[in-house]
């Protein structure tokens, strides 16, 4: 059976503004994809450890040597909007 998901809730978590048509389509398509994907539960026993990475490595560090990084101008060059050499965004607080 296709999986029922709360598309509006997931879209908000994912920060995606979706049209009504998209919500309906994704609800249907994701339901089918998840139904298919559920077969992972058939084989994954409790005693099988999960793999997050094909070649496990831990604590990969490099020497902490100072080196030049991007200049302020380079970092700002692709900003959609800026003011006084800073990234400009719509207001953050006073949402209520």
């Amino acid at each position: 059976m296709p999986v029922e998901i709360d598309v509006q809730h997931v879209a908000r978590l994912a920060r995606l503004a979706l049209t009504e048509e998209e919500q309906e389509r994704f609800r249907r398509q994701l339901g089918l994809i998840l139904e298919h994907a559920e077969n992972v539960r058939e084989v994954a026993a409790v005693d099988v450890p999960p793999t997050s990475h094909p070649i496990p490595r831990s604590n990969v560090l490099r020497p902490d040597d100072p080196a030049p990084s991007l200049s302020h101008e380079e970092a700002m060059a692709s900003a959609p909007e800026e003011e006084s050499d800073r990234f400009k965004v719509p207001r953050v607080v006073e949402q209520e």
């Binding site: 990475h53 692709s78 900003a79």
Partner: protein, 494 residues
């Protein structure tokens, strides 16, 4: 039409350059002429860089004129999938959300090739953020397959595959997360190679699913694959997942043959419904060739591979939903107009900036990572990943390589699978397992279907053992002598 400079292999061209028979600028002009002839129909490139390419070719010619030794990538026209960041050259990932993005730095693979004198002709079209199997998910329109313009080139690195197949680049780089190098290579009749996870640095690559993303190569033959891999492989301190082990020179031992080599044939996969008869026959014939060359072939199986597709479509979207959180309309890229507050601006920017498949996967990943579902989906998929890795380890105790079709079908028609995501996903069913395990695998052309479309033969090897994969591929390539060319090229006037 006789082959022009742009149709030759890199090793042929490199020899001619070193001998002074041709100049890098001649090779480049031949390639640029070809781009002018066919790109309008194929839509291979998102950005062309001929000005810079002429400068790079000129520098190589000056070095040759001064009798300096130049390396094997010097003067060879290269194309990069548009997920490789190139300083000062627009890099879009095939997405509207990055349409205006000009990176302030170079990725490591391009930095290394550039240092070797490579000549970049352009950035190739691809599925948006490398998500897709047909190139139809590009925000800038699909690439067409040079073998038949009504069919897809495969994806997601479809532009890179089409470029190499049509003489618009001698070789190209792509990325392979679920098969995005091998599957388009198969559909376009070129060699597509994905080495071990971490063998090639991903510093400066636009990330899709970080535990699965690999850099891979598109070349006209196996020797070129070994050459370009040798030029870009090896540790990079700027990528924490980069392998610290030194990368060997992959050209050595290529021609050692396959005498006594144990080949495991993926019979289950060949028997899968959906595998075209021509694909099955062609792959079996190639196995017979390997046996004729002295290898032994027996049935191999990977019992949990049937679950690999499901695991992949939980893990990759989960990682993508996290990786793509950075596209928020604040620091670079597209920002949607309007939007009363930051949250609304973020949502509108992402809603308008991402295409269908990307949104679908972000949603899928967000859902499967959300509270209450994590263990049921993502956690289970990670366990399946362990089982698939164990299957490979088990199989590689008996066999030196495993072989299969690269994709169940030859190139399919544009629009054929766009309404059915699951059908599209099945196109990568034989390539996904090697991404979950991080093991090296190559696709080489092994024949043509009755309707004249290329068929790809996949050779999969042990972790870190690129050398054996390439050795088998080289032996088979020398024996098969696949020399067909896209009809499009035959029709060009010289």
């Amino acid at each position: 039409m006789t082959a022009e400079l742009c149709d030759l292999t890199a090793h042929d061209l490199s020899a001619k350059l070193a001998a002074g028979d041709v100049r890098a600028i001649d090779v480049l002009e031949s390639t640029l002429r070809r781009i002018d002839q066919v790109d309008e129909r194929l839509h291979t490139f998102l950005t062309r860089t001929e000005g810079q390419a002429r400068t790079q070719a000129g520098l190589v010619d000056e070095r040759v004129a001064r009798r300096e030794e130049v390396g094997p990538v010097a003067g060879i026209p290269l194309a990069l999938k548009d997920v490789f960041c190139t300083k000062g050259i627009r890099t879009t990932a095939g997405s509207k959300i990055l349409e205006p993005y000009v990176p302030p730095y170079d990725c490591t693979p391009w930095e290394r090739l550039q240092a070797g004198g490579a000549v970049l002709v352009g950035k190739t079209n691809c599925d948006e953020f490398a998500m897709g199997s047909s190139n139809e998910n590009s925000a800038f329109g699909p690439v067409r397959n040079p073998w038949n313009l009504e069919t897809v080139p495969g994806g997601s690195s479809g532009g890179s595959a089409a470029a190499v197949a049509s003489g618009q680049a001698v070789w190209a780089l792509g990325t392979d997360t679920g098969g995005s190098v091998r599957q388009p290579a198969s559909l376009c009749g070129v060699v597509g190679f994905k080495p071990t996870y971490g063998r090639i640095s991903r510093y400066g690559l636009i990330a899709f699913a970080s535990s699965l993303d690999h850099v891979g190569t598109f070349t006209r033959d196996v020797r070129d694959a070994a050459t370009i891999l040798s030029a870009i492989a090896g540790h990079d301190p700027r990528d924490a997942t980069s392998l610290p082990e030194p990368a060997p020179h992959y050209g050595a031992g290529l021609d050692a043959g396959v005498q006594g080599l144990r080949v495991g044939v993926m019979e289950d996969w060949l028997g899968t419904e959906g595998v075209q008869p021509a694909v099955r026959d062609s792959v079996r014939a190639a196995v017979d060739r390997l046996v004729g060359l002295g290898a032994t072939a027996e049935t191999a199986s990977l019992p949990h591979a049937d679950y690999a597709l499901s695991a992949y479509y939980l893990i990759a979207p989960a990682e993508c939903s996290s990786n793509l959180a950075r596209y928020d309309g604040v620091r670079y890229g597209y920002r949607a107009p309007g939007g009363g507050d930051v949250m609304e601006m973020n949502m509108r920017t992402r809603g308008a900036g991402f295409g269908d498949e990307v949104k679908r996967r972000i949603m899928l990943g967000t859902y499967s990572l959300s509270a209450g579902y994590y263990d049921a989906y993502y956690g289970q998929a990670q366990k399946v990943r362990t089982l698939v890795i164990r299957d490979y380890e088990e199989a590689f105790r008996r066999f030196d390589v495993l072989v299969s079709p690269t994709s169940p079908t030859t190139a399919f028609r544009l629009g054929e699978k766009t309404e059915d995501p699951l059908a599209m996903y099945l196109s990568d069913i034989f390539t996904i397992p090697s991404d979950l395990t991080g093991t090296p695998a190559v696709s080489i052309p092994c024949g043509l279907s009755p309707d004249g479309l290329p068929i790809g033969f996949q050779i999969m090897g042990r972790l870190m053992d690129e050398a054996t994969v390439l050795r088998v591929a080289f032996a088979l390539e020398q024996d098969l002598r696949f020399a067909a060319r896209p009809p499009l090229l035959e029709a060009l006037s010289a």
